[in-house]
């Protein structure tokens, strides 16, 4: 199995996919529990929200978005190659296309989240 993934872009794409997947899973466990509190203990949920809205919480939110976006784009690339194996020939070009889309979507999102960070720091409004 490992031989299949050895080397260069293909291996990095796989490693990033696995790392981002496990990171998203960790947040998912926390997030389902915090949303459960909306019904079970709303004031406790609001306490969670205050922590999420601190500057470190907003940086984590931004990193979560990056992990989700990478995992989504690379997952689509894997699915395309699995369903149309002949396209595997272009796996490297598709991975670079992923990064172009990642930047095209990620940069505007980063600007918006930087605004949230500025508000939490009291820099604006």
């Amino acid at each position: 199995m490992l031989f299949r993934y050895r080397g260069r872009e293909g291996m990095l794409a796989w490693a990033f996919h696995r790392i981002s997947g496990v990171a998203i899973w960790l947040f998912l466990v926390l997030h389902v529990l915090d949303i459960y509190l909306v019904g079970a203990a709303p004031e406790l949920y609001d306490t969670f929200l205050v922590v999420y809205a601190t500057p470190p919480g907003i940086v984590m939110e931004w990193l979560l978005g990056a992990a989700v976006l990478y995992h989504a784009l690379n997952g689509l690339r894997i699915t395309i190659m699995d369903f149309w194996p002949s396209l595997s020939r272009y796996h490297r070009q598709m991975w670079y296309a992923n990064w172009l889309l990642f930047a095209a979507i990620g940069i505007p999102v980063t600007i918006v989240i930087a605004g949230q960070l500025a508000r939490s720091l009291g820099v604006s409004q």
């Binding site: 899973w25 929200l49 809205a53 989700v68 997952g75 190659m81 699995d82 194996p85 796996h91 939490s120």
Partner: protein, 132 residues
């Protein structure tokens, strides 16, 4: 290296059994989640500031709509399947024997409990008509 060879994805298992079904469901839930998760993040982290979304906001603004409750429950269902089957692959790659059995049992139990908790809250939180 047969016809099912791909460079980054998990190789499609042979035969037509349970593991092939899992392999297809990971890809189909992945396509669904591509739309649902990115829409979820775009709406709740980019268009709306998460700092505003306290329990009251969720009850009065978000979950006063059957559409968004259904959306969130579908998201919960697909993401629980995809995340916990993904963790099953990761755990199986790095553990053996009794430890693997123990970790996989814990993963399945946690996934089931989270699915139940999420379903309970999205389906039973009282519907509040938002204040005008």
């Amino acid at each position: 290296m047969g016809g099912s060879y791909s460079r980054s994805g998990r190789m499609k298992p042979g035969g037509s059994g349970f593991e092939v079904g899992i392999w297809y469901l990971m890809r189909l839930t992945g396509i669904g989640l591509f739309v649902l998760v990115l829409a979820h993040y775009l709406i709740l982290h980019v268009i709306h500031d998460p700092a505003e979304q306290n329990a009251e906001w969720i009850q009065e603004m978000r979950w006063s709509s059957t559409f968004w409750r259904s959306f969130d429950w579908l998201l919960l269902t697909l993401v629980q399947f995809h995340a916990f089957v993904g963790m099953r692959t990761v755990v199986s790659d790095y553990s053996r024997g009794g430890l693997r059995t123990l970790l996989l049992s814990a993963i399945y139990l946690l996934g089931f409990v989270l699915f139940v908790l999420g379903t309970v809250v999205v389906m039973t939180l009282p519907n509040v008509v938002p204040a005008a």
